[in-house]
């Protein structure tokens, strides 16, 4: 077995537990909420129309957006609660809709007979309509279950552990083994949970006429065992976990994984226990740190400058860093634990030969060509203020703007599928693919000093601050680019890049 695969499999129990917990709790709540809603809707046309519209609309909101919205609504809380909330919202449509359809498909004949022999409306519902609608309702639950297992992988983005951790870190660090392990594990879980519900459905259908009594008993025992195991599992995973000393957060790209690994390793070295929550979106991890759910993560001065402070001017690297420090302390009680030394600038990059052909060396040279160019951006770029700033300063807009996962984005420009991309200056792939970083003569893009943002609680711990402070100005642009390159280009594990960066510390 390869070293890489072994490393991934070691993570499996932890991610499995996270994923199953999310799925089971979300499904239990989803069923508990959606079936009563469906029953209510089936009784009253006034409720039915609006309710079905609302759950359908929820379904059309992109899942990543729902996650971000839920985090924002919960005041920056990350982890299980926002993830489960979002999953429950998503599970509602198939269950509510099938409950309504199932109840409505019970024929008037049967309902009239139930009334005619003297059943109350409640008895008609519980003893006749719901049992007859059950196969349709269960079909809805099965659909919801498969969706939930799949969507639970996105919980990684809001800091809940799931098989998504394999997938997102694997995509970022070009570790296909991790992506495969995560996908196969999620698929296997979906199949098994679906089989359990299928078993329940089979039992319900064969309750009266037992085709084969032995088989019936076998299925019943298997399903009961599975349900008891699931119940026990939920209880077990809800038991309060041993608190770790510090939570190290991070966004979803290689440099973040490496620096988070470095900070965690340094903290562990100083005797603290840590836990890493990686792969979160920029706003999510910022708010999580402001609300003390995360203790420390790598942030960039320019990101806060444009995203949080909504500034568009560029008064220079030092002024911006100072104003950012002031701003995060004042508004969100965050501390700059240390400025690492490197800058990870957003920039526009092209293939060197192509740029030469067109005679382009700076962004202002793009103006005559931009309308005919295809540009690739990472998942955030084209909706970020930096891009709007670029667009307005240079008065350019690209003919076509495509969004990529960063790994795919670099191969796309390298293979000529796009003409120009949003690159990061510390990215190892810029050098590896020999890309040209276009100059920014107008200074439209703000500087991006990497610094460790520290939560208010962690900032009060002198031991913690000493470890974090020790990183001050230790990691140069060159060192960071090399570390990124080890992972992104050479396919080394993150732990090796961390060890490499540790050689710069004393």
């Amino acid at each position: 077995m390869s070293e890489n695969l072994r490393e991934q499999l070691l993570l499996l129990p932890d991610y499995f537990q996270g994923h199953l917990t999310l799925t089971l709790i979300a499904m239990s709540l989803g069923v508990a909420v959606s079936i009563p809603l469906g029953v209510w809707a089936a009784q009253s046309n006034r409720v039915k129309g609006p309710l079905l519209t609302v759950v359908s609309i929820i379904q059309t909101i992109p899942s990543v957006a729902i996650l971000a919205l839920v985090v924002a609504l919960l005041g920056g809380r990350i982890g299980l609660v926002p993830a489960i909330t979002a999953l429950v919202l998503y599970s509602m449509l198939p269950i509510v809709r099938n409950t309504v359809t199932g109840l409505e498909s019970v024929t008037d004949d049967v309902v009239e007979a139930a009334r005619g022999i003297g059943m109350s409306s409640r008895q008609i519902l519980l003893q006749v309509r719901i049992p007859l609608a059950l196969p349709v309702i269960i079909a809805g639950i099965r659909t919801a279950m498969v969706w939930t297992v799949g969507l639970a992988t996105l919980s990684t983005l809001v800091g809940a552990t799931s098989f998504g951790n394999f997938i997102f870190s694997g995509l970022q660090t070009r570790n296909l083994v991790a992506v495969t392990v995560g996908s196969v594990a999620a698929a296997a879980m979906a199949v098994i949970l679906d089989a359990i519900i299928g078993g329940i459905q089979w039992l319900a259908e064969n309750r009266v006429v037992q085709v084969d009594e032995k088989r019936f008993r076998r299925v019943r025992n298997a399903v009961m065992t599975a349900l008891i195991l699931c119940g026990g599992f939920i209880i077990y995973s809800l038991l309060p976990e041993e608190e770790v000393d510090f939570v190290v957060g991070g966004k979803g790209f290689t440099e973040q994984y490496i620096i988070a690994g470095l900070v965690a390793a340094e903290l562990e070295g100083a005797g603290f226990s840590t836990e890493q929550r990686l792969g979160m979106g920029t706003d999510v991890v910022y708010e999580a740190t402001a609300s003390n759910s995360v203790d420390v993560y790598l942030e960039y001065s320019g990101t806060v400058w444009s995203n949080q402070m909504l500034r568009e001017d560029n008064p220079g690297r030092e002024t911006i860093m100072a104003e950012v420090n002031d701003y995060i302390a004042r508004t969100d009680n965050l501390t700059n634990g240390s400025r690492l030394g490197f800058q990870n600038l957003y920039a526009l990059a092209m293939r060197r030969d192509r740029a030469a052909e067109m005679g382009i060396s700076s962004i202002s040279d793009l103006r005559p060509y931009a309308a005919d160019m295809v540009a690739g951006g990472d998942l955030e770029f084209f909706s970020r203020p930096e891009w709007l700033q670029l667009r307005d300063t240079y008065n350019i807009d690209f003919g076509e703007k495509l969004t990529f996962d960063t790994t795919l984005m670099y191969s796309a420009v390298n293979e000529g599928q796009v003409d120009i991309i949003s690159a990061y200056t510390t990215d190892g792939r810029v050098a590896a693919f020999d890309l040209l970083i276009l100059e920014d003569p107008e200074g439209a893009l703000p500087p991006y000093d990497g610094f460790l943002a520290v939560s208010s609680e962690a900032a009060m711990n002198p031991g913690f601050m000493a470890v974090v402070g020790n990183l001050e100005r230790k990691i140069s642009d060159v060192a960071m680019r090399q570390a990124n390159r080890m992972v992104d280009v050479d396919g080394r594990p993150v732990s090796e890049a961390v060890a490499y960066l540790q050689t710069f510390l004393d």
Partner: protein, 257 residues
């Protein structure tokens, strides 16, 4: 026992009348046949008696009590009802279907089981053989017999039957008619039986009500209807069995000679 006084029912706020000004009385222990062409209001009349439909005006009472003053669920549990569409619960076994009303009345399980056995025997479907089947595993005629057993199960004094034997073959049908008539007489049940079959009505009913267009044209014993029909329509339908018997007779003669 059952009394209807000037009962009217419209499903469309008085534009048309499904039942128009109907009055009749069914004595205790009597079997009343209700006959008439399709859509003349027979089912509506039955449904109003156990409050599946509410009359637009008029008064219905059972044992001297206005049905509108009784709790509808309690009223229905004490009236056996055989539905025109059979109306078995598809997810209940035959035994569970028959046990439905006794369960609602919270009988104890041994009594329920015993009663299931008795009623299913009456309709010729022994519990041991048919009890565990689902309705979908029974023929139409068998389902109809389960419907009759269900109506009898809780030992009601009043039974309303909407074409209870329609789907049966002639032999089973004759057997069941006789069996039912015997039970009805023994237990002194008050029964209203809707039928399309004049022969059935003549053979089973103590009195027959002939309906047309929502009104009862005539009500009387088979003898009275046969000998003093008050209407052309009544004459026409009571004559039917005799005419057919005559025609059969002729056919038989011709093939014999």
């Amino acid at each position: 026992m059952i009394e209807l006084q000037h009962v009217r029912k419209s499903y469309d706020d008085g534009t048309s009348w499904a039942v128009a000004d109907t009055s009749f009385t069914v004595e205790e222990g009597e079997l009343l046949g209700l006959i008439g062409e399709s859509g003349c209001g027979k089912t509506t009349t039955l449904k109003m008696i156990n409050r599946l439909e509410e009359p637009s005006s008029g008064l219905i009472s059972i044992a001297g009590k206005n049905v509108m003053e009784r709790n509808p669920q309690e009223l229905r549990r004490n009236i056996g009802y055989v539905f025109q569409g059979i109306g078995l619960f598809p997810h209940y076994s035959v035994a569970e279907n028959v046990a439905a009303v006794p369960r609602l009345l919270q009988w104890d399980e041994t009594r329920i089981r015993q009663r299931c056995q008795e009623t299913l025997d009456m309709v010729g479907l022994p519990l041991e053989e048919y009890g565990e089947r689902l309705p979908s595993q029974m023929s139409g005629g068998q389902q109809q017999r389960v419907g009759v057993a269900r109506a009898l199960a809780a030992q009601p004094d009043v039974i309303l039957m909407d074409e209870p034997f329609g789907a049966l073959d002639p032999v089973t049908r004759a057997e069941l008619q006789e069996e039912f008539k015997r039970i009805q007489a023994t237990l002194n049940l008050t029964v209203i039986m809707v039928t399309h079959d004049m022969t059935e009505a003549l053979l089973m009913a103590d009195r027959i009500a002939v309906m047309k267009g929502g009104e009862v044209l005539q009500i009387g014993t088979p003898y009275e209807l046969l000998n003093e029909p008050a209407h052309d329509y009544v004459q026409e339908i009571v004559e039917m069995p005799r005419q057919r018997a005559d025609r059969l007779e002729k056919l038989l003669h011709r093939s014999a000679s």
